[in-house]
């Protein structure tokens, strides 16, 4: 059980490390150029890993709906935005507000598409998040 716990925690560390590294590249170039390198290097690496392990491309790839291909396009904008923001509002604020947005929009999204949502917990969670966001923008 210790390995999956460490893996999940390390994944969180890597999310921040990647934003920090991409942010550094964006400082010397632009957020869009940084986002390009992020995707290109990740793609090259995953291609090599996929070739070694094999079976990367599923047989039913033709049956995928077209919109599944849009994930990468959203990712380009997300990564560029992250690189742009981290140099302006810092790592903690970036982390907190991205998580806040992810959670609040996640609740709304699940609610709209009829996925099970436990109202009291989701609503209380959103209220706490909004209170925390209010703290991040208060004048120091």
């Amino acid at each position: 059980m210790i390995i999956p716990i460490l893996a999940a925690f390390a994944a969180g560390l890597l999310v921040i490390l990647s934003r920090q590294v991409n942010g550094r590249l964006a400082m010397s170039t632009t957020p869009l150029i940084s986002s390009f390198w992020n995707h290109f290097v990740g793609f090259a690496f995953l291609t090599v890993v996929g070739l070694v392990i094999g079976g990367l491309i599923p047989a039913n790839i033709a049956e995928m709906p077209w919109w599944i291909y849009t994930g990468g396009a959203i990712g380009v904008v997300f990564v560029a935005a992250g690189s742009w923001l981290i140099t302006r509002i810092g790592a903690v604020n970036s982390t907190l507000l991205v998580i806040a947005g992810q959670m609040v929009f996640g609740v709304i999204f699940d609610f709209l598409r009829g996925a099970p949502v436990t109202i009291w917990a989701a609503a209380l969670g959103v209220v706490l998040i909004l209170a925390g966001m209010w703290l991040t923008q208060r004048k120091r």
Binding site: A7, V15, T118, R140
Partner: protein
């Protein structure tokens, strides 16, 4: 390169970060569907491949401005170190780690909760020490309050709010 620590954060920047979290929700949903077809590795590979093409198209459209802005940034800050180009490795490895933990008793909720903890810990350290060439930021009690409120709210949603009713 230290920004004034008492600088007020621009509310529009904070709003943009919040909105980008919404983009992340969307991307995770879409990539999750890709994962149902071909697994987490395929999903990440596809997203990075499409992302590379889309970034090239975007760059081609605005290349003049990007080249000028990049040259200006390099002149001001200096060239980026080589390691700054391989941030993409983090995202690729992240997928391998999360697909390990999602398929353990931790499941999705545990993976998200522990990932959130990892994000908060490293971002606090990053601001405190100004890790990897980014500006240092002074942390105060308001930051602590924001961390506690947003982390608690998120854990409530992850552990009790979504999924099982």
């Amino acid at each position: 390169m230290t920004s004034p620590p008492t600088q007020r954060t621009n509310p529009l920047h904070l709003l943009a970060a919040f909105a980008s979290g919404g983009l992340l929700t969307l991307a995770i949903f879409v990539n999750g569907e890709a994962g149902r077809f071909g697994g987490a590795m395929f999903s990440s590979w596809l997203a990075h491949g499409v992302g590379t093409i889309v970034a090239i198209v975007f760059l081609a459209i605005v290349w003049r401005g990007q080249r000028a802005a990049s040259a200006e940034a390099t002149a001001k800050i200096g060239k980026a170190p080589l390691w700054a180009y391989v941030g993409g490795l983090c995202g690729a490895v992240t997928v391998m780690l999360t697909s390990t933990s999602v398929n353990s008793p931790l499941a999705l909720a545990g993976t998200l909760a522990l990932g959130l903890a990892g994000q908060v810990v490293l971002s606090l350290a990053a601001d405190f020490w100004g890790l990897l060439g980014l500006p240092k930021r002074r942390l105060d009690l308001r930051d602590a309050g924001a961390v506690i409120l947003i982390a608690t709210g998120s854990l409530l949603i992850i552990l009790f709010g979504l999924g099982a009713a």
